[in-house]
Symmetry: C2
């Protein structure tokens, strides 16, 4: 457990950010209370606000964090095998860090907020471009790749995909088709 030690603002900020990613992944932007993030991080609610200014800025920080991690995973996968099919294989890694895709999904949902919309458009565009650059995929190939990722994302949100999946025949049927490329 986290002991009652004083940390630098940077270190504590990182801990709060990790807690925020967990909380936002579970409850979304509007649904998550700063109080809950504070509880997860083991600090007081006002301190969370002081470290990040506003709840919105904290969500933006969480969004940048998960997008950076997603890019990192793609880079690592491409370093081994720079092909789209290899990246696809690594969606499993994304699903094992379930909060990555979920925070991104909540970012899409909260795009009505202009600041969040700007952030999401920028980061998702970067991911698309990165996928193309890393693999040399055509726009259509990259689109099919990201499409599959989006279906996985919403299935993860519905809790029919991943380790804690609620068993659903139709979902298992879909899940079995992942990884099977077009002939």
């Amino acid at each position: 457990m986290t002991t009652k030690v004083r940390l630098t603002a940077k270190e504590r900020g990182d801990e709060v950010l990790r807690a925020a990613v967990q909380a936002f992944a579970a409850s979304g932007y509007e649904g998550t209370k700063t109080d809950e993030i504070a509880r997860l991080a083991g600090v007081s609610q006002p301190y969370v606000i002081r470290l990040f200014g506003t709840k919105q800025q904290l969500f933006l920080a969480a969004l940048h964090s998960v997008c950076g991690r997603i890019e990192e995973i793609f880079r690592e996968a491409a370093a081994e095998t720079p092909e789209l099919s290899a990246l696809g294989h690594n969606y499993k890694r994304l699903l094992s860090e379930r909060e990555l895709l979920l925070v991104l999904l909540h970012g899409f949902s909260a795009s009505g907020d202009p600041a969040i919309g700007d952030c999401v458009r920028e980061r998702f565009g970067r991911i698309y471009t990165l996928v193309r650059d890393l693999t040399g995929a055509s726009p259509q190939e990259a689109r099919e790749f990201l499409s599959a990722g989006m279906l996985m994302t919403v299935m993860a949100a519905m809790q029919v995909l991943g380790p804690d999946a609620i068993p659903m025949p139709w979902a298992e049927e879909i899940t079995n088709t992942f990884g099977q490329d077009a002939p």
Copy 2:
């Protein structure tokens, strides 16, 4: 405009439901206030609550409504040409009723709420099954079809797809690949 006429509870309920679909599409489940729905429907906020019981039940009603409409669009398309490519062509129709896909997306995001999760799993499973039944598509074909739909959905949420799209080079590149089937 809607005049100040007394309607039956059923009729007024339909108006409120339409307003709710618009509002939830724009702001999501947690982000939408019952007050805003009431304003859109031209009634008082307490009446919205009395007609549907709770905000959650109203959201569930909105979810059922949009899923029913999505199924209807697929059925109509399949009645003309019962092939997956024909259904895909009709994603344009879904995008023209932008709120359909957006409410569904917000349903995914709000799946952490058990009642909403149950509803979303049931309705999305029904849509998957319907697509297969209407077109005779294989699980993999249906998965690819729904994958493309999910990417369109998140792009619509990001406001980079559809009539009021914010122009983004990467988004236009992706958009151009829709409708191009694998060779």
